[in-house]
């Protein structure tokens, strides 16, 4: 069995990998601080996957009326993030990527003086921004076209410290048809859970949309027999508008509930923004 691994990537970034977790970590500040921060993040990373796996059966259970009480700090972040969404089918796994990013970011910045830091866990990003700093993230809705189609700029003054993107092409399965649903929230775990919700809501019943039971798509999926999207063919403009409208409605609901700060949805090249502060999300053009 392979243990956790750490490597430096171009641009002075740190890469931590263990099993399915790939973190790309960046920090800006005095070199000694960055080095110490990377050491802290690497040390914390050692036990993350092992602790999650120990509680996996619990974390794969759909939420009911009793709030689960896991032992691990990452698992607790996951439950915290998904608990507000318990009215629909959701498991704590919906926030696993964001929760890991938050946990490692916390270890990265603890006691350190950094202008900026981020932990990118496969698109779910936890941020640290000192006063006056900002963070710019590109959104790539389609992996086969690896060029950002949209950007999100986060200013230190905004409450956003987490970005997550969900979509039917991503590693996680989606019930919706969004190419991308990018959510900005107070932390990465909240953004992760909400992005799943919003992406699921971007939906339209159309013969061009093909679905399969989740268990037929990926072994060990926590979604069981729930149909998930496996292909989206050409959609008429009204279906695109309807699907994006449904997603925007969900985003608006989550924003009103104080769970997210904003969202950007894309489907077939059409973008829909939902957010009070228009500067948070911009289209590339």
């Amino acid at each position: 069995m392979n243990g956790p691994r750490a490597a430096l990537l171009p641009g002075g970034r740190l890469h931590l990998q263990h099993g399915p977790i790939d973190l790309v970590i960046g920090a800006r500040g005095p070199a000694s601080e960055v080095e110490a921060a990377y050491a802290q993040a690497t040390a914390r990373f050692e036990t993350v996957l092992g602790a999650l796996v120990e509680e996996l059966p619990l974390l794969r259970q759909p939420l009911g009326t009793t709030r689960p009480l896991p032992r691990g700090t990452v698992a607790r972040r996951m439950v915290e993030a998904v608990w507000p969404h318990r009215a629909v089918f959701i498991t704590p796994m919906a926030a696993v990527a964001g929760a890991v990013a938050d946990e490692i970011l916390a270890a990265l910045v603890r006691g350190r003086t950094l202008a900026k830091g981020y932990v990118n866990n496969g698109g779910d990003i936890a941020l640290h921004l000192a006063a006056g700093e900002h963070f710019r993230a590109g959104i790539v809705p389609d992996e086969s076209v690896p060029v950002p189609a949209g950007f999100a700029t986060i200013d230190a003054a905004s409450p956003v410290r987490g970005i997550a993107t969900s979509g039917w092409r991503g590693r996680s399965l989606s019930r919706g048809i969004a190419d991308s649903a990018t959510v900005l929230a107070a932390n990465a775990a909240m953004a992760d859970a909400a992005a799943t919700m919003v992406a699921n809501a971007v939906d339209a019943d159309h013969p061009a949309v093909q679905r399969l039971p989740a268990r037929d798509v990926r072994d060990d999926s926590d979604l069981g027999d729930i149909p998930v999207t496996v292909a989206v063919g050409s959609l008429p403009p009204e279906a695109i508008a309807r699907a994006l409208g449904a997603g925007a409605g969900e985003a608006r609901r989550l924003r009103a509930a104080g769970l997210i700060e904003g969202a950007a949805l894309s489907l077939a090249g059409v973008w829909r923004l939902e957010g009070g502060d228009a500067s948070l999300l911009r289209e590339a053009g």
């Binding site: 243990g3 691994r5 399915p20 790939d22 796996v53």
Partner: protein, 479 residues
């Protein structure tokens, strides 16, 4: 836990595998990846998606290899015909964790352990031997790539010009651009790609490991047979009777047959032809011209320019004179007229044959690239808990060091400073990190008991067969 991991008989029947690469223990059906996309089920077998490189031991017959086919697996599965290299092993950095692969394999009846890792070498460079007498530039001259200094010209060797490139002062001691260009240059050379370099006050040279050098656009075909004096010694008996004087033009040591020990031995009559330069010993002259791209590494286009004077008291009309370079690439035949002036003439066939023989005795000119690096503290820590014991074990040759399966020369003295011929390493063996530093595979092989004794992570050792089962491997014949 074992109940959770066990696959049902139906799963096994369907070719499902349980990945044990990480604690997630994914259950993977044929043709699908695990949650990480790094491991996959290929026809009921768990494979790693990045290939590890496996070297067929040179003494093993080369196995025709198609990745994923059954033919090779039976062959290598015995575990003694293959050597796992560090390529694709990935590295831990800093290396405070055990190296990614510690392979236990039985060899010659001794249970050996090979610690396989990719090391990050901040202290590294290449020594380049360029088989040419052409003048590349003065010793200590700066060698540049893309305008940045990446090394210097160092002490010339017999028939070869030498460059020393890279090293920590160019990688990290200069500007960021200098570091990056140096890293790119080293990476390309180590991966056997061609690189164009310019020598300050000298030539532009294209070098590539195991390929002929190209000096100022001209491909060097042959390495000289020897210095001018050595050429005289080698061919004197063959010239005897066909010539009255031979001058082997060489920038280092020009030889003059009749004055040379080789000619004296044949009782040759002194010719009275005096060449320029500084006389070393009889028939051997230094500095006959300036170094350059002409005859024998000099700047001469006309060999007669080497002649200082012709002594009328000693020379005679009709004297037959051969000029030849140390590679046989240049040659000319003259006869003295009544006024003792050299006049070009047709070279007799017997003499032509000796010129051709000089060329025939030259080896093909090559560039040789030796990667030289020091295995630092953190790399050694990945191998053993007590790093200095590894150093001592290597120094006492108990531990064999290889890079990508190629044998490494370990410098005596402190530390683990190694040199290896990149031409013997598998393709694409080198990588880099933006430090900047090169990433190279390195393997330490020693008996298992000794490994445990020096504080190694013996409990982490996996059997070669298990590596073969779980990793996607690329097989290369040993070079």
């Amino acid at each position: 836990m074992s109940d959770d991991i066990a696959l049902s008989p139906a799963d096994r029947e369907a070719g499902v595998v349980r990945c044990d690469a990480c604690p997630v223990l994914c259950r993977i059906r044929p043709g699908r990846p695990g949650a990480c996309d790094r491991y996959a089920n290929e026809d009921g077998r768990l494979v790693r998606v990045d290939p590890l490189v496996l070297l067929a031991r040179p003494e093993t017959a080369k196995v025709a290899f198609v990745e994923g086919s059954e033919a090779w697996q039976g062959e290598l599965g015995r575990g003694d015909g293959a050597f796992v290299t560090g390529i694709g092993a990935t590295t831990t950095y800093p290396d405070y964790k055990p190296a990614p692969f510690i392979v236990a394999t039985e060899r010659d009846g001794v249970d050996t352990v090979t610690v396989v890792t990719e090391g990050i070498f901040s202290y590294c460079g290449v020594k380049v031997k360029i088989d040419t007498d052409r003048y590349l530039g003065p010793e200590q001259a700066a060698v540049r790539a893309g305008g940045e200094q990446v090394g210097h010209v160092t002490t010339a060797e017999y028939g070869s010009q030498m460059l020393s490139l890279g090293g920590v002062r160019h990688l990290t001691g200069g500007s960021k651009k200098e570091g990056n260009v140096t890293c790119e240059t080293l990476l390309a050379l180590c991966n056997r790609e061609a690189v164009e370099l310019t020598v300050e006050g000298g030539a532009t040279v294209t070098i590539q490991a195991a390929a002929a050098p190209i000096v100022n656009g001209q491909r060097e075909e042959r390495m000289r047979v020897g210095c001018g004096s050595a050429a005289i010694g080698m061919f004197a008996p063959q010239w005897h009777g066909h010539v009255d004087e031979v001058i082997v033009v060489d920038d280092h040591i020009t030889g003059v047959l009749s004055e040379h020990q080789g000619g004296r031995f044949l009782d040759m009559r002194p010719s009275g032809i005096r060449v320029r330069g500084r006389k070393s010993t009889p028939g051997r002259y230094f500095q006959v011209a300036e170094p350059g791209m002409g005859w024998g590494g000099t700047d001469l286009a006309d060999p007669l320019a080497i002649v200082e004077r012709i002594d009328p008291k000693t020379a005679w009309p009709g004297l037959r004179l051969l000029f030849v370079s140390t590679t046989g690439e240049h040659s000319a035949w003259f006869e003295l007229d009544a006024a003792l002036r050299p006049v070009p003439a047709d070279m007799p066939a017997a003499v032509r044959a000796t010129v051709e023989r000089i060329a025939e005795n030259c080896e093909p000119a090559l560039c040789t690239v030796l990667f030289m690096a020091g295995a630092g503290g953190s790399l050694r820590a990945g191998v053993t808990e007590n790093p200095v014991r590894l150093t001592r074990s290597v120094a006492s040759t108990l531990t064999r060091v290889t890079l990508g399966g190629a044998p490494a020369y370990v410098w005596p003295g402190g530390g683990i400073t190694v040199m290896v011929d990149v031409a013997r390493m598998p393709d694409r063996a080198f990588g880099y990190v933006p430090t900047p530093a090169l990433v190279a595979p390195i393997e330490f092989t020693l008996p298992r008991a000794d490994y445990a004794a020096l504080g190694g992570y013996a409990s982490r050792a996996v059997r070669l067969e298990d590596i073969l089962r779980s990793e996607r491997v690329r097989l290369e014949g040993g070079r």
